[in-house]
């Protein structure tokens, strides 16, 4: 599912406050870490970050730009990284997106947030021939 990680179709992350109010945020890109982890670039996620401090559960909707297949990931937040190889990889990716959009002063990476993937649902839709 490489088309899920190219950022062509912006993914969505949803968290929930302890009061039960969901909050959605658009993502630039979803990053594959390993078979059981993904990383998200934390740029503007003030509400998302606040919710995760109290409730680590999250849901991400991501669409494969090559096939149209959509997946819903059930995630548990594990940690934020503000330096190191993963952070630098995400920063390079964000910088590239920002340059394409002419928004280098706006798109600044705060942290690479790492999540454990608890479940991955393939959401079916009408089938299209490649």
């Amino acid at each position: 599912m490489p088309g899920c990680f190219d950022g062509v179709v912006p993914p969505l992350i949803v968290t929930c406050s302890v009061q039960g109010v969901p909050n959605a945020a658009n993502l630039s890109q979803l990053h594959y870490v390993d078979a059981s982890h993904v990383a998200l670039s934390n740029q503007f996620f003030s509400k998302t970050t606040a919710n995760l401090a109290d409730n680590p559960r999250a849901s991400v909707l991501v669409t494969d730009s090559q096939t149209g297949n959509t997946y819903r990931l059930s995630l548990r937040f594990e940690r934020s990284e503000t330096s190191g190889a993963l952070f630098e990889e995400l920063r390079a990716s964000i910088d590239a997106i920002a340059a394409m959009m002419g928004a280098t002063e706006i798109f600044k990476l705060r942290a690479a947030d790492v999540y454990r993937v608890l479940d991955c649902e393939h959401l079916t839709g009408p089938k299209i021939e490649p």
Binding site: I13, C16, Q19, P22, N26, F44, S74, G125, P126, I128
Partner: protein, 154 residues
Amino acid sequence: MPQGVDLAAFIEPGVAMLGASADDDLVPEAFRVFGVSWDTDGHLRALISSDATRTLATVKPGTWLCFTFTDMALRSVQVKGRALSDPELPGRADVELMRRYRIKIIAACRTRGLSPLLIEAIRPLSAFAVTVAVEELYDQTPGPTAGARFGEQP
């Protein structure tokens, strides 16, 4: 409805629609929306993909939901509100709404070079309807103002 943005006008040309709810254990579920409408009291009626099985099972009057509407320039608005009723089966008007929305979003995606086949692939096979009283509106456009509430001073 909160003031600060003409949501109906923003949505009209065809925008991406996503949403979420959370169950009693505070586990969120993101889902795709394929059309919204307003009743005469200004309540938002959203057509939610039936693959949102947890939402279908847990939404009841008073449950909070959020919806994001994002145009092809990536300008985005988030709406939050509480459900007014249990999920409902779609009616004839809802089916017609989904048909019109499909036409609009395909046209909008063409302006960004996205194939209509992508819309066909993500189009829900079925949907249910949830009506919410909109209480909060947020600017969700990526950037330093993301998350700012419309109608409030920063």
